[in-house]
Symmetry: C2
Subunit: 482 residues, 2 copies
């Protein structure tokens, strides 16, 4: 991948920018020593690295607005950053950019249990939102695997999901309102603690916009009452396609578990060696969790058992107590770590219609032979959000490139099957050049015109989401006089 | 209210427009005789009337695109229309406009039960979407009161809800994708039968945009498996505020009924006289419906009964069978018709945080005395979507004006309480001048700039949603050369 390089003007501008920013930020909020800016050179997609010109760590919406206004006036690109856990390079800097990290903005601004909302600064981590309300038996539903570290800002930017989003939806379904700062420093309030207000609903287009439209500094989130109980079951199958068909039948029957997780044999074996969760050695394993009152749980499990029985599972294990429930989840939750111990891997994030699961799994298996790289499948099967892990050896010349080519083919397959490039990780830099497989030029143009009005100079989170040549063409345009 | 009047150029343009449109439409799809265009002079907000210059009834996306392109080239405003059931004047013509009715575009294009979706042309009525899938035990969840007549196009335009949206969400939560035709005739595909794809999610801003951004000709909708069963309970209280507090407690406790409907004494009495549903004569009545399997229903009703008992209901009636369930719903479903038999009324549509229900009900009662007009309250209490009916006498000079002033005060109260102007009816012409109570100028400007990029000349559904002076200022601007 070709990365934008710093040009001479960047170095010339830096002193001037530092001088201006130091007038609106505390000294410890402005990082310009190259030894320190390196800490921001990548996010969790570590294959791509580029240190920014500067990093700033503001503490308030006012400071964010000041930083953006100054960068806008100076024509300097800004890369917003939550906790830097993006798997798609969503917070990757360019050399001429300012990283705007919101990590220090982590306060709870308001909790309102009567109306089931919490308002937070967006640097707050996902799990600590639940932490702020769990004493009253509430929780915040979206639960990305990185929830201990990832920030609400990033969750909103990527419209994050998680294992339990089959029932509760992804971030957009749990987001009520935001404070959004535009590139020119304008502060907008969008949505709030109420149903859809009149006029144009801008909240939906902000959520998942990957920092292209503005920086979200505060968010009003829906919190939910904790369910009375939850119980996972584990099923093993001797055929991946049969497991996929079982998932499809459960969804079609109208049962709505809170999670349906899928692991195939390579993933099961790696996980067992690592976590010793006691999983059966079979082709495919499903973990299905249902929740509610005891009679609700019993009823749903009865239906699931009936459907599963038609697909001849080689194992069906219910959790009789919390210990057994913990063991059922242990392996799944260790899966990514286990894979990372034995292999380099690339984690994909395509989605497909649930009914295409058997076909897509079969095609991925065939492509695996063609490309000569193994694939382990572990994913949220209930809503068709796949996470194939392509295994490769980073020390073997050419293996990464083969892996990238294989990954692109899998994502194209997802689009052909009626799905899309990304379920919850976002496009970032990783998938920007695949966007033309997802969208017709005319459909993409509609997105670009919306980006135009929010960020006319295309300074926000540059070189991401849209194909690089599209971004460059847009930035090269003369701007209309205002 | 001041309505735009036809000017001389309108009459001059008409012949030319008819000639051009007749080249792309069948003769029966082009209505230009003034005696016939009167049929389109209003929607269900009959206080406002204005016949359009022309009406067209295209049969395909291609024809819609041709009509829009021609009107765009001629600079003629277009008012999209579904079934004309808007309570907010969302389909009210201006005299210089073309009404674009989608009623003839009502085909089912695809049903896919495995992936739980249906694709329809948007002229199809809401109830007939369920009609197309109910043999397989599926249904389409949003259920506005007008569902027998209202079109999916209008549901999308207004982001319609209904009695059961507490559990299933409103239109935006059940809409997967649309085919959108822009004013210049460009056809866009947005969303589809998959989770949120990468890039900017334009679907959210299209839904509820009241025909300001384009004309939706096809839609992919989520369909759901019918629940195994449902059971309503009816509770009577001798105090409206206590009933409101009971609703608030049920929501706070995390119970999620499929519907919580509220009626106050004026509404109960009018309904009883009309429908003889056997409702108790009390201050406030709640109808709460739960659904699921028998044990789920029993469990939820136990919790609801416990919470209700703390508020001393004067009546608590469970439905033992389908007949009793039907009688419980009979009165609520007849409420609007019953009120219309004895009074002229204006139906409002504000939303409030559920916890503000007691305060807002008390304030409406006080205002009712100040304005000297009675109010009957009937609404979706579970999600805070109020429908106060202000009763007036259309034959009494000044009564309508007093009613409008009273209505505006109630909607401002909703906004002050943290709610919004409209839950499901939309802004239309009715509430356009109240938008500045909901939004700061800077927040509204962000919406206007999005409108600008989709419809630069502001030709689509003119004089609605935004305050009239805002629209006029926007239309008076010289357009940038493209």
């Amino acid at each position: 991948m070709q990365m934008p390089q710093p040009d001479a003007s960047v170095l010339a501008r830096k002193d001037r920018l530092v001088a201006r920013l130091s007038q609106v930020l505390a000294p410890d909020a402005l990082i310009h020593d190259p030894a320190e800016t390196r800490a921001y050179e990548c996010d969790a997609l570590t294959a791509y690295k580029c240190a920014p010109m500067l990093a700033v760590l503001p503490r308030s919406t006012r400071e964010v607005a000041d930083v953006l206004r100054i960068c806008h006036e100076e024509g300097v690109p800004v890369v917003p950053r939550g906790s830097g856990t993006s798997l798609a390079g969503g917070a990757l800097p360019t050399a001429d950019s300012v990283i705007l990290g919101v990590a220090r903005m982590n306060a709870v601004l308001e909790t309102d249990f009567d109306n089931r909302i919490i308002r937070v600064q967006t640097g707050r981590t996902n799990l600590s939102v639940t932490g702020a309300v769990e004493e009253e038996d509430f929780f915040y539903a979206p639960d990305p695997s990185s929830q201990l570290a990832c920030a609400i800002a990033g969750n909103i930017g990527m419209n994050s999901g998680g294992a339990h989003c089959l029932k509760y939806g992804v971030t957009t379904n749990n987001l009520m309102g935001v404070t959004l700062v535009l590139m020119d420093g304008t502060v907008l309030e969008i949505g709030g603690a109420h149903l859809d207000a009149g006029g144009l609903d801008l909240l939906g287009v902000i959520c998942g916009s990957e920092g292209q439209l503005g920086v979200v500094t505060e968010a009003t989130l829906r919190i939910l009452r904790k369910p009375e109980g939850a119980r996972p079951v584990l099923m093993g199958f001797d055929d991946s396609e049969v497991a996929g068909a079982c998932v499809s039948d459960i969804i079609k029957a109208g049962v709505l578990p809170v999670a349906i997780e899928f692991m195939d044999r390579p993933c099961i074996r790696a996980t067992e060696a690592f976590a010793h969760a006691g999983y059966p050695d079979c082709e495919a394993l499903l973990i299905i969790e249902v929740e509610g009152s005891d009679p609700e749980i019993a009823h749903q499990l009865t239906l699931i058992k009936e459907i599963a029985a038609r697909h001849d599972p080689v194992e069906f294990r219910e959790a009789a107590d919390a210990d057994e429930a913990g063991r059922i989840w242990l392996g799944r939750k260790s899966a990514f770590g286990a894979m990372g111990q034995i292999n380099d891997y690339m984690c994909l994030d395509g989605t497909i219609p649930v009914s295409s699961l058997p076909m897509v799994l079969r095609r991925i298996g065939e492509m695996s032979k063609d490309f000569g790289l193994d694939v382990a499948n572990v994913f949220h099967a209930g809503d068709g959000n796949m996470h194939p892990l392509i295994l490769f050896d980073a020390n073997k010349p050419g293996d990464l490139e083969t892996c990238e080519a294989f990954g692109a083919e899998i994502l194209k397959l997802c689009v052909e099957a009626g799905g899309c490039l990304t379920g919850e990780h976002g496009v970032g830099v990783e998938k920007r050049d695949l966007m033309l497989h997802q969208y017709d030029p005319v459909d993409l143009e509609a997105q670009l015109t919306v980006k135009d009005v929010f960020d006319p100079a295309w300074l926000l989170n540059p070189a991401k989401v849209f194909p690089l040549q599209v971004t460059e063409a847009r930035r090269a345009r003369p701007l209309a006089a205002e």
